[in-house]
Structure formats: structure tokens, C-alpha cells
Amino acid sequence: MEGTNRRLILKTLAAIPLAATFGLVISPLLRYMRPTLKPLDVFGPSDQPGPEEDVSYKESDFPEPWTCLPFMFKQKYVEYNPEGKEVREIPGFIVKLPSGDVVAYSRICPHLGCVFNWVPDPNECAKGYNFKPQGPVFACPCHLSVYDIAQNGKVVSGPAPRPPRKFDLKKEGNEYKIIGLEAGSIA
């Protein structure tokens, strides 16, 4: 019994540095799984996509409140390929609110990544999405999340955890420029 105990302790003491060494050998393999990771930066932030090209609209494109225009925004994703990136088109909606503000949202549902729809008619929403809103909304057909645009994209129904991601808008004269997208969705 005594001998087993001593041997176990010695074995453990010998094993710890060995395990640490082999553990360090394995760490580069993490970069095998995520090649865009920088060396020795396992806890670093993940690669977020960035804008590739701006989209612009004129004031006159929005003749009345609740004008909703679909657009495609070119977004650059970091990839481990010869170009080091892949450009993806992110579908979006740009809407003029009754208050006069113009807002732009990504159409990628923050729940599980489907592309959601513009539903201007509350009755249509009540029929298809289990919820009757006050006005026009965004509604996702996959898991029935409904977003109220008048309330900053608040989730009024369905499983989505947060409002849809917003595009950064810049107003130059009477031109609206879409210059970037809030990070965090899979395209």
C-alpha cells in the first residue's frame, strides 16, 4: 500500500511537466482549426467582418413615411484563402420612419441567421407570424420573430434575443450613405 502511494506521487510529479510540454505542442493545432487566429492569441477577439463598399441613397428615394427599400451591402469576411478574404452581400432594408428618421437594418435574423421579410400589413403578420403589431414590422419566417422598427427594432414576438443588427448610416447633404454593419452574424 505504502509503495503504491509513493509511486503514484512520483508518477504524477513526473507527468505534470510532460503533460504541460505536450499541451504546448498541441497549441499550434488550435490554429489548424482556426487558421486566421494570430499566434499565441487564443483568447484574442475573433475575426469580425468589415465593409467593402458603401451604398448610398438620396433623400428623394423616400417620398413618404414607411418607404422600405431592400439593398445589398458588400461585406468582407476574413478567410484563410489566397485573397485572405471573401466578399459577401448582406441583404438589408433601409426604412424611413414616420418620425422622419431613416434607419437601415441587416435582414439576417439575429436568432439563427435566416433572411427576414418586410411585413407592412399588420393583418398579414397576425396570420403568418402569430402576432398582430401596431404598424409595419420585420418578421422572420423561420422561427416567427417579429421586430418593431418604430421601437428601435425591439423584439415584440418570437424567440429572437435582440433587435436585428443595424447598419451605420451617414448623412451627407441630402444623401444617406450606408458605411458599415454592426458585428456578429453568420452569413
Binding site: 503504491t4 483568447f43 475573433s46 441567421g113 435566416c114 423561420c142 424567440p159 435582440r162 453568420i186
Partner: protein
């Protein structure tokens, strides 16, 4: 040291009892055809690998050509359609065989005695076939595959909301971005489904078959087991079944994938459909947790059963397992049918299936307790305290969720805010003038405008940017009151002052008040109190409906049942344990099966 030796022995026995493809059940297989499922699984695995080796000669794993190469295999290559059909239906057959084998193991108690690990091995086989299926159908590069992969890659990102491990408590710990990193690893090192994703899935698709094959072959060789103990007639019948299905129902090709159009209804392969319906009903973090916890429960069930019924193998005497199995089968079938028919009312359905899930398991727990009560044998009766305790613990966790759910349903606040406001409520008596702080917070942001969203900034900044700028001088004065209040000290400051914030302009918390305000825990409490109070008349997202909301009647059934089982279970644990005293030496050498 003897405890260590006992543990080592315990593990060694179970490793020696490993059974991968029912090779230890050849006697039972002569009378019971369900014991052929293991050999069938292995046989079909070989058929799938053979057809896969044929398909690999023509398949092109690139974004532009994948779909067309499948089309070419289907139409231009001789017997290509047949090969692809057998490959696809063979993969389905493997999943069917693995699933049915799993149920058989539970019903026939193949994990007894001392074979509990076999459930875990069967589950790994099932999961590997499912993931091979998932990686396989992206290779077709059609609409269904693309969108199923998108859902599959997005749900791990919710791990970033898990307590401690994720971004959820970002002010408290530096995040390791576990969810996002998992998604990137799955997709080939980026946040989009691209060429890298196809390459990675293609290699994983091969690796998931070939690497386990090596281990399985070593195992069979070392132990000299017969590989596929089926007669040639049976082998031919199974192969012909696959061939006939592949000819009658050629494998579908679908539409070329389009990242801009979501198909409706969004589906995946049939074995994930039940999970898809669950994702409609549940908060995504919870759905992700359940997806991870389900396999762990399956691995844990045999242990629970052994604690409850010892070496008993008769399914009639193991009602707990029987009813858990029934619950699993019915939920899975019903959920799958519902999503295929695209039926879901996410607001009114959940109480029904919650009640169904809990109550079915509760029926099993009740019958099990009743059987224990009927047992007249004094020695066995004394041993049953373990089983009663397991049931009591299940009842207690159900009761805990019932307690939490009661408040969550009333005020529509989720677990995080609920825990945070509860913590605030506990430390509130130690804080200086909490009423003044709460009144000032109400003045900064009216509680009717609260909505739970993940936020990455301090509450003070969030309120200043979103509400105080519109609120005018009174709101500004209220915010100043809150900021002044944050500087006050309290006897519980020691709990938080050591926590780093990782924000340079605010490196340390000034005290408990500062901590609670900055992380919004104090505001969660204010909102909770206002929503629980019917006099404040806070409107929900539906017009004309006010907090607190009523609890759905069907939920009350399982909530009450949880408390009942907790009390009865603990009482019976105590009863059996105290009843053990007068028994003359409960001989430990005699197993329970020998006594019957």
C-alpha cells in the same frame, strides 16, 4: 487508497464490458431480432463507405462545381444515381439502426449489470452518424443544406451567453468568445459559409467514418470477434432493401443554394427536425443548452436506473425508464411532424408541451415510487433509499424551475435579469438608502421602456445616451443623484471590489452600489418590482395587456407536481433509510437480483 482502487476497478469492469455492435448478445439474437441492430449498423456502415469511395471519384468539392458534379453523378455516370441513393439511404439506415438500438438498450436494460458505458458508446455512434450526415449534405450545396448549415453554425454562438464561459458577464471576466470561436472552427475559420466550409466539411465527412473504423477494427481483431454475425441471406436482404429504396425514391437534389433567399419552411435532414421545432419555442440560449444537455442526460440515465432498480431487467418493474423513453419518442415524433406541417403557435403551445414533458416523466417517477413502496423484502426495502433520493432530486429540480418560472412568466424577465434582481434583493438591506437610488433610477429611465437585450456598456452610459438626453434637466439631475450614490460605501463592498472590470476608464468598482448600478442589476430589481406590482400598470408588448401576467393553467400542473415529488421523494428516502435499522445485517455480498 482503497477508494481509488475501487474507482479504478469500477471503471475497468465497465471498460471490459464494452459492447460496440452487440457482439456479446449473440445468444439473445437467436430469439430476439432487435439484437441484430448492431451487426446491421456495421454492415450498412461498410455499404455506405463503399458507395462513398465510388462517389468521391466524381464529386468536386468546390463552391462553383459541387452542385453540378452531383447533377453529373446523378444523370451522366452509369449507376451514379444508384450509388448516391444507396449512400444517402444507407446513411439514413445507420441513423435509424443506431436510434432503435439505443431504445432497445434502454428497454431491455442492456446496460446492466456493470455495462453503463455501453449507452455512451451507442450514443457516440449515433452522434457520429448524425454529424457525418450533417457534413455530408452540405456537400450537395443545395438550399436545404446551406440553410441547415447556417442554423447549425449559428446556434453555438449562443454559448457566448452562457454564464461565466461566455460574453454574458463581460464586465466580470475576460471573454474567451467560446461560441463565436466554435462557429468559426466549424465553418473553416471565418464567419461565413464559404469554400473553406466545403473543404472542411468534406474532410470531416471522411474522417468521421475512417478514424472510428480503425479503432473498431483494432477492437475486433484484438478480441477475435466475428465482424458481421449475420447470415448471407440477411446481408443480401439488407443490401437489396437499400438498392430498392434508392431505385424507387431517387435521392433528391433540391435547388442550388442561394444565400439571399431563405427557403420556407426551413428544414434540415429528418433527424434534426425535432430540434428545429424546439428552437422555435425556446429562448435560443436555453435551446442551445438543451441541445448540449440532452446527450449528457442520456449518458446519465442508466446510472439513475441502476440506483433506482439495482440489477432488475424487467421493463415492467422499471417504469421510470419506460416513461422517459415514451416521452422522448412522442416528443421527437410530434415535434418533427409539427415542423414539417409548419404548425407552431409560439405563444400558446409551450405550456402544453412543457406539461407533457414533465408529467410523463412524473408518471414514471410515481409508478417507480409505488413499486418501491410495494416491496415487502426488508433488505431490499432498506436499499431503496438511493432510488427514492434520485427521484426526490429530480422532483426538487422540477420544483426549482417551477419557482423560477412562476416569476419569469409573471414579469417576462429571463434567468439572467431574474438572478440579478434576486441578488440585489438579498444585499438590499445592507445598502445605504436604497429607496432613494431606486427612485432616481426610475427617473432616469421609465421602467415601462425596459427591454432585455444584451448590452456591452455600463448602465450609466447606456441610460445617458438613450434616455437622459431626451429626458431634459430632471432626468439629468436624477442621473447625477445615481452617480453620487455610486460613491457611497456599504458593509458588503468586499464582495465586488476585487473584481476587475477590464474597462480602462473605470478600472475598479467603487463599492457594491457602483457594481449593482453599472451592471444593471439594480435596475433589473426596479423593473421587477414595478412589473410585479399591478398598480403601476406597465403594458406588455401586446396592447391592452398589463404586468403581472397570469400563469398558464397547464403550467400549474407540472409546477405543483414538482413540489409533490420533491416532498414525497425526500420523505420516502428518510422512511427507507430509517427502516433499515431493525434489519439484521443487510449482507452487502448478496446482490439484489439474487434476493428475488
Amino acid at each position: 487508497m482503497s477508494a481509488v482502487n475501487a474507482a479504478v476497478d469500477w471503471v475497468k469492469t465497465r471498460i471490459n464490458n464494452i459492447d460496440i455492435f452487440d457482439e456479446h448478445h449473440r445468444e439473445e439474437a437467436k430469439t430476439n431480432p432487435w439484437y441484430s441492430l448492431g451487426p446491421i449498423f456495421y454492415l450498412v456502415w461498410f455499404i455506405v463507405m463503399f458507395t462513398g469511395c465510388v462517389l468521391i471519384m466524381w464529386y468536386v468539392p468546390t463552391k462553383s462545381q459541387a452542385f453540378d458534379s452531383i447533377l453529373a453523378i446523378q444523370t451522366k455516370i452509369p449507376f451514379g444515381g444508384l450509388m448516391r441513393g444507396v449512400h444517402k439511404y444507407g446513411a439514413d439506415a445507420m441513423i435509424i439502426a443506431a436510434t432503435m438500438r439505443m431504445y432497445r438498450m434502454f428497454i431491455c436494460a442492456d446496460y446492466k449489470p456493470g455495462k453503463e458505458f455501453n449507452i455512451a458508446i451507442a450514443l457516440v455512434a449515433l452522434l457520429l452518424s448524425m454529424y457525418s450526415g450533417l457534413t455530408g449534405y452540405l456537400l450537395i450545396w443545395n438550399q436545404r443544406a446551406f440553410w441547415a448549415t447556417k442554423v447549425f453554425a449559428t446556434f453555438p454562438t449562443y454559448m457566448d451567453q452562457f454564464p461565466v464561459m461566455g460574453d454574458f458577464y463581460q464586465p466580470l471576466v475576460k471573454s474567451i468568445h467560446m461560441g463565436w470561436n466554435t462557429a468559426e472552427v466549424l465553418l473553416g475559420g471565418g464567419a461565413a459559409i464559404t469554400q473553406e466550409t466545403i473543404t472542411r466539411f468534406f474532410s470531416i465527412h471522411l474522417a468521421f467514418s475512417l478514424i472510428p473504423l480503425i479503432f473498431v477494427e483494432i477492437y475486433f481483431y484484438k478480441n477475435a470477434y466475428k465482424r458481421v454475425p449475420l447470415s448471407w441471406a440477411k446481408r443480401t436482404i439488407i443490401t437489396l432493401m437499400l438498392v430498392v429504396v434508392a431505385i424507387v425514391l431517387p435521392a433528391a437534389q433540391g435547388k442550388r443554394s442561394d444565400p439571399d433567399v431563405t427557403p420556407l419552411p426551413i428544414l434540415s435532414d429528418w433527424y434534426f427536425l425535432g430540434l428545429y421545432q424546439m428552437y422555435k419555442y425556446l429562448e435560443p440560449v436555453v435551446a442551445t443548452e438543451i441541445t448540449i444537455i440532452l446527450p449528457l442526460i442520456v449518458v446519465g440515465l442508466p446510472f439513475m436506473d441502476v440506483w433506482m432498480t439495482g440489477a432488475e431487467k424487467d421493463i415492467n418493474k422499471r417504469p421510470f425508464i419506460l416513461w422517459v423513453v415514451l416521452m422522448a419518442v412522442i416528443s421527437w415524433v410530434v415535434f418533427s411532424l409539427l415542423i414539417i406541417a409548419n404548425i407552431a403557435n409560439i405563444h400558446t403551445d409551450p405550456p402544453y408541451w412543457r406539461a407533457f414533458t414533465y408529467l410523463t416523466v412524473n408518471v414514471g417517477m410515481g409508478l417507480q415510487l409505488w413499486l418501491m413502496w410495494q416491496n415487502k423484502d426488508a433488505v431490499q426495502r432498506a436499499k431503496q433509499w438511493k432510488g427514492a433520493l434520485v427521484i426526490a432530486i429530480i422532483g426538487a429540480s422540477q420544483a426549482f424551475w417551477a419557482f423560477a418560472y412562476y416569476y419569469m412568466a409573471k414579469v417576462e424577465m429571463f434567468r439572467g435579469p431574474m438572478f440579478q434582481q434576486w441578488f440585489y434583493g438579498v444585499v438590499r438591506p445592507f445598502l445605504p438608502e436604497p429607496e432613494k437610488l431606486e427612485a432616481a433610477m426610475r427617473a432616469c429611465q421609465p421602467t415601462s421602456t425596459y427591454f432585455a437585450s444584451t448590452y456591452k456598456t455600463d448602465w450609466q452610459e447606456w441610460v445617458r445616451d438613450n434616455y437622459v438626453v431626451k429626458g431634459g434637466p430632471e432626468a439629468q439631475a436624477a442621473l447625477n443623484t445615481v452617480l453620487e450614490h455610486c460613491k457611497l460605501t456599504s458593509p458588503v463592498d468586499w464582495m465586488v471590489t476585487a473584481i476587475p472590470t477590464f474597462t480602462p476608464e473605470h478600472p475598479k468598482y467603487l463599492g457594491m452600489v457602483d457594481y449593482l448600478v453599472t451592471n444593471r442589476w439594480a435596475y433589473d430589481y426596479v423593473v421587477f418590482c414595478d412589473r410585479m406590482n399591478p398598480l403601476t400598470k406597465i403594458e406588455t408588448t401586446t396592447k391592452g395587456v398589463y404586468y403581472p401576467l397570469p400563469i398558464p393553467e397547464w403550467d400549474l400542473t407540472w409546477m405543483i407536481a414538482g413540489f409533490v415529488f420533491m416532498i414525497v421523494g425526500f420523505w420516502m428516502t428518510w422512511h427507507f433509510k430509517s427502516g433499515a435499522q431493525p434489519a439484521p445485517k443487510p449482507a452487502p455480498a448478496q446482490p439484489a437480483s439474487a434476493a428475488t
